[in-house]
C-alpha cells in the first residue's frame, strides 16, 4: 500500500477548516478553566476551612480518572438525572468537561506559583506594616504570575489536544471531520495523518510562544 499524497493534500484543507471548532473549544475552555483554577487556587492558598479539603478530593478525583470517562459519565450518564444536560449540545458538554478537568490542573499550577513566593518576603512585608492586600497585589502576584505562565501555557497545549475528545460525542471538530471523511474513502492513513500534522503544527507554534515567554519571564529579575 502506498501513501496517497494527492489525496492527503486535498483533504488537509478540508479537515483544517474545522480548526475553528477545535480552537474555539480550546479558548472557551481555557477561559473557564482559568476562572475555576484561580478560584480553587485561592481557596487552597488561604486554606479556607472545609472547602480546601473538599477541593483536594475533587482535584485528585479529576486527575485520577480518564477525561473520556468523565465526558461520557457527564454527557450520557448524568443526562438521566438532569434535563439541562439532556438538552445540552455536545459542544457545550465537551466545553464543560474540558473546563472542569483543566480547571483542576490550572489550580495546581497557580497554587504552586503562589506558594513559590517565599514566606520570608511575606514576613518582610508584614513586618513593615503592609496590609494583606498590598502584600498580595504588589509582592506575591507579580512574582507568582511569572512562575505560573510557563506551566499555564503547558495546560493550554494539553487543553488544545484534549479538545479532540469532542468527536466522541459527535462534534465535527478536526478529529470528527477526519473520522467522517475516512469512513467514506477508507483512506484512514491519510486522513489521520492530516489530523496529526494539523495538531502538531499548532502545538509547535504554541510551544514556540511558550519558549519565548519563558525566557522573558526568567529575564526580568
Amino acid at each position: 500500500m502506498r501513501f496517497n499524497w494527492e489525496y492527503f493534500f486535498e483533504t488537509l484543507p478540508l479537515i483544517a477548516s474545522k480548526l475553528n471548532v477545535t480552537l474555539s473549544l480550546t479558548l472557551i475552555s481555557a477561559f473557564f478553566s482559568l476562572v475555576i483554577g484561580i478560584m480553587f487556587a485561592l481557596i487552597s492558598y488561604y486554606n479556607v476551612k472545609g472547602l480546601s479539603q473538599l477541593l483536594r478530593v475533587w482535584v485528585s478525583f479529576i486527575r485520577g480518572t480518564p477525561v473520556a470517562t468523565q465526558l461520557f459519565f457527564f454527557y450520557y450518564g448524568m443526562a438521566n438525572i438532569s434535563s439541562i444536560i439532556l438538552n445540552m449540545s455536545p459542544t457545550v458538554a465537551v466545553a464543560v468537561i474540558m473546563s472542569l478537568n483543566m480547571g483542576a490542573f490550572v489550580s495546581e499550577s497557580i497554587r504552586g506559583a503562589l506558594i513559590s513566593v517565599d514566606e520570608g518576603q511575606r514576613e518582610a512585608a508584614m513586618s513593615l506594616g503592609m496590609s494583606g492586600w498590598q502584600m498580595t497585589t504588589r509582592i506575591v502576584i507579580p512574582q507568582a504570575v511569572r512562575v505560573a505562565l510557563p506551566p499555564l501555557f503547558n495546560d493550554l497545549i494539553n487543553l488544545f489536544k484534549m479538545s479532540s475528545l469532542a468527536f466522541l460525542v459527535g462534534v465535527r471538530d478536526v478529529m470528527g471531520a477526519a473520522k467522517i471523511e475516512s469512513t467514506q474513502t477508507f483512506l484512514f492513513f491519510e486522513c489521520y495523518a492530516c489530523v496529526m500534522v494539523i495538531y502538531w503544527i499548532i502545538t509547535l507554534m504554541l510551544t514556540f510562544v511558550q519558549r519565548r515567554l519563558e525566557t522573558r519571564c526568567n529575564a526580568i529579575y
Binding site: D118, G120, Q121, E123, A124, A125, M126, S127, L128, G129, M130, S131, Q134, R138, I139, P142, Q143, R146, I220, Y221
Partner: protein, 245 residues
Amino acid sequence: MIEVRNLSKTFGESTEVLKDISFRINKNDVVAVLGPSGTGKSTMLRCLNYLCVPTTGTIRIGDVTVDAAHHTKAEVRNLRRQSAMVFQSYNLFKNKTAKENVMEALVTVQKKPKAEAEEIALKFLKKVGMLDRQDFYPSKMSGGQQQRVGIARALAVNPNVLLFDEPTSALDPELVGEVLNTIKQLAEEETTMILVTHEIRFARNVANRILFMDGGRIAADGTPEEIIDDPQNPRLRQFLNFVSK
C-alpha cells in the same frame, strides 16, 4: 522606649518556648541577645512585631501598646510601624530593585509621595554604601549587598527600634565584615536596636547591654563587661566556653 511584660509563647499545646519574659529597653540602647540555639531568641524578636503572636503578655514600643489577650489588626499594624526588622535571609522583595525595596513601605504604609520616597531611599542606600546598586534586582546582588539593602529598607521607615535576627549568619565569611561594619556605624550613631547574634566578639564591641537567653527565659542581663568578661551565671559560662572554642 520598649517595654515587654510577662511575654510567653507556647507553640501548639505544650511547646513552651518563651516563659514569662519581661524587660525594658531605653532609647539609644544597643542590645545584643545571646544564647544557645533553640532557646527562643528568634521567637522573642518576632513577637516584638507580632510576626509571631504571643500567647500572653504586653508589648509597648514607643507609644503603642499591644496586649496579647485582646489585640486588633489595627493595633498590630500600628505596632509593626514602630519597629523594623532585618532578617537572617534578607527577605528582599525579589520583584523590586534595591531602590524600590527601600521605597515600598514608604509609599504603601506611610503614603509618602513617590518623589519623596525616592529621595529617602537614595539617602539610606548611600548610607549603607549601596547607592551604585540602586537599580539592581536582589538576584543580581551578593548576600552582603542584599543584607545592606535590607538594613536600608529597615532604616528608611524611621523606626523607633531596629530588630536584627542573626543578620550575618547566612553570609559567606568574607561578606560578614561589610554588614557588621554597617551595623557598627549605626550603633555608633546610637540607633536603638536589638540584635540577636552568634558573633560574641561583635556583640562585645557594639552593644551597651547584653541579654543572655536560656530555656525561654532571660538568664542574665547586664553590660558587656559583666556578661562576657565576668560571667556569673553557670549556664552563661558554659555557653561562652562553648562558643569561644
